[in-house]
């Protein structure tokens, strides 16, 4: 583990795989889970209403109502069990929101786990509207409701986030510009890291970026007896120069 990973601010759950790889799950909170639940609820309603509309008039009136009641029961109690055990911890609602039920160790849920956690919804629902479930989630780092705690499961977020765009200088740095900056600029690695984080903020508006850069660029420039013309560009150049590139062509123009 690298430094400063002790106790992250976010609610995460570390998982160690048999390959001794550790990765970090982001645990899903109540709002995301409630949204997934609402999607599932809507799907169940649509299924119930369409079957009700389709089966009325087929066979005896009462027999079809009996079948409908069986369907109501299956959807009520079995929907989560079936989907979570067949779709590896996902229901359609959870899949839509990128959620997945996993065992505490990051392993997949089995039938028994899915069965228990969904049956215990009846307890989480008490006294009304999932109040107990919410209380249980509030008291747990992994936001587990009672059903999760008994079955030993948690709900994690697994939407693949995107990688920020690569750092580019527009227009690309000219050799003359780079030559102005010393070959080994007198900046500490942490400072380079900070500059890198700054340069990877694509959503920063240009005036705000300039405002921030104006704080630090002159300080660094003074160290090298230079003057930072455009502070943002100066930081970009400095970053490029500091990364060395063994005297290769500027990165912006690399194929």
């Amino acid at each position: 583990m690298g430094p400063a990973h002790d106790d992250p601010l976010d609610n995460t759950a570390d998982v160690e795989t048999p390959e001794r790889i550790r990765f970090r799950y982001h645990v899903a909170g109540p709002v995301r889970r409630a949204l997934a639940y609402l999607i599932d609820l809507a799907i169940r309603l649509v299924v119930l209403l369409t079957t009700a509309a389709l089966t009325t008039g087929i066979g005896g009136m009462k027999a079809s109502r009996g079948l409908w009641l069986v369907l109501l029961f299956v959807l009520d109690w079995g929907y989560g069990v079936l989907f979570e055990s067949l779709w590896n911890g996902q229901t359609p609602g959870k899949r839509a929101l990128g959620l997945r039920v996993v065992k505490d160790g990051g392993y997949p849920v089995g039938f028994i786990d899915a069965f228990l956690r969904n049956l215990l919804r009846a307890a989480d629902f008490l006294p009304a509207g999932y109040v107990l479930g919410l209380l249980s989630m509030a008291g747990d780092r992994s936001f587990r409701r009672i059903g999760d705690r008994v079955a030993g499961t948690m709900v994690v977020i697994e939407t693949g986030s995107a990688i920020d765009a690569a750092i580019t200088l527009v227009p690309p740095a000219t050799p003359a510009e780079l030559a102005e900056i010393p070959h080994r600029p007198p900046v500490r690695p942490e400072e380079i890291d900070a500059i890198e984080l700054f340069l990877r903020r694509p959503r920063l508006s240009a005036p705000r970026a300039r405002e921030l850069a104006e704080i630090i660029a002159p300080v660094l420039a003074a160290r090298m007896n230079l003057r930072a013309g455009d502070p943002v560009r100066f930081l970009g150049l400095l970053h490029q120069r500091a990364l060395g590139l063994r005297g290769a062509a500027p990165r912006g123009s690399a194929p």
Binding site: G2, F73, F115, V150, G152, S161, D164, A166, I167, L243
Partner: protein, 343 residues
């Protein structure tokens, strides 16, 4: 330091995208053609290595989050749950369910007491005084009960009605059993409540109908499916009590750890209950209201009761002791070892 983030991302992202595309298909990996499986497993390993590399090189959080996400999804796909076998249902019925019932026999006995004693109280109370029944049951319900048992319940019912009633019982009774079980998480109190409440209601109805003079109709009607239904409700209550007790007597584990240790047993109990109640609903919908003579019905009912008791008491008793896998403690931290499928 030439290996900085952007160059590295450019070099590696091809494999990441390939893996992401595979994951986007939402297919179980064992259904892929063999070369794809091998490729996918290799991609997972290299993404895992990339994640470690990114982390130790101090790359930016967005990149680490991206790799984390893709590795987690690949992990879930690679180590997905064992495939389901029909044999598991047979194992449950032939062995696991009756064994678990016997292992928790004291809870079952206690749940039976909580159910039967209020039932007797209700029965005797409402036989003695009609006011008693109306105190407990809503007036309309009591009246409806008297009406429906005034004649043979099967009279005038069609197959159509039967199908409806079977559906109704599935929905109603299994739902009751599930709630009776689930609320046991409140230190057993919910199960106690549901057991007592259902026992009292059923006893009172029976007493009320008896005092109206239709007791034999009621007995003939419920005796058959009661063998499954009443036992199942008691067992589901017992499962709830097991959970409640696990919270109190933790045996040195955390409360929820102790609960998880019994989770498998509890699940076996409730799964058995589901099957019993499904049988009960079919009997209740189709056999109990049938026009079979009273004697036949009572004889069948006695056989069913004997059968259920014999099943719970003796099924799955083999020469050797129960397999160690179902004992306490196996519910915690189950690693999906391949031994479960080994023939």
């Amino acid at each position: 330091m030439s290996d900085r983030q952007d160059t590295w991302v450019k070099n590696r992202s091809g494999e990441w995208n390939e893996l992401a595309a595979l994951l986007g298909q939402h297919r179980a990996w064992h259904r892929f053609p063999a070369p794809t499986i091998a490729r996918a497993a290799g991609l997972y390993r290299s993404v895992s290595a990339d994640l470690m590399h990114a982390r130790s090189s101090g790359y930016t959080p967005d990149l680490i989050a991206f790799l984390d996400g893709i590795a987690a999804r690949a992990h879930a796909a690679l180590y997905s749950a064992p495939p389901y076998r029909l044999g598991a249902v047979i194992d449950l019925l032939a062995r696991d369910f009756p064994r678990t019932v016997r292992r928790h026999g004291r809870f079952v006995a206690f749940a039976a007491l909580l159910f039967v004693v209020p039932g007797l109280v209700g029965f005797i109370g409402s036989v003695r005084s009609p006011r008693f029944a109306t105190q407990i049951l809503p007036e309309a319900t009591a009246e409806q009960m008297r009406e429906s048992y005034a004649h043979d319940p099967g009279e005038g019912r069609t197959g159509d009605d039967n199908a409806f009633m079977a559906g109704f019982y599935v929905n109603n009774n299994i739902g009751i059993a599930f709630r009776c079980f689930a609320t046991g998480i409140l230190f057993g109190l919910g199960s106690v409540f549901f057991l007592v409440y259902n026992g009292l209601t059923i006893g009172t109805v029976a007493g009320f109908v008896q005092s109206a003079g239709y007791g034999r109709n009621l007995l003939t009607f419920i005796a058959g499916h009661g063998a499954f239904e009443l036992t199942a409700i008691v067992i589901s209550g017992a499962a709830g009590l097991v959970m409640g007790y696990a919270l109190v007597s933790t045996g040195g584990l955390t409360r929820f750890g102790s609960l998880r240790a019994r989770a498998r047993d509890v699940a076996h109990l409730v799964l058995g209950v589901v099957i019993m109640l499904a049988i009960a609903a079919c009997l209740e919908g189709f056999w109990s209201p049938s026009h079979a003579p009273r004697r036949v019905k009572l004889a069948v009912a006695s056989l069913l009761w004997l059968g259920v008791i014999a099943y719970l008491g003796f099924a799955g008793r083999s020469g050797r002791a129960a397999n160690p896998g179902t004992g306490a403690g196996s519910g915690a931290a189950r690693v999906p070892l391949p031994t479960r499928h080994a023939k």
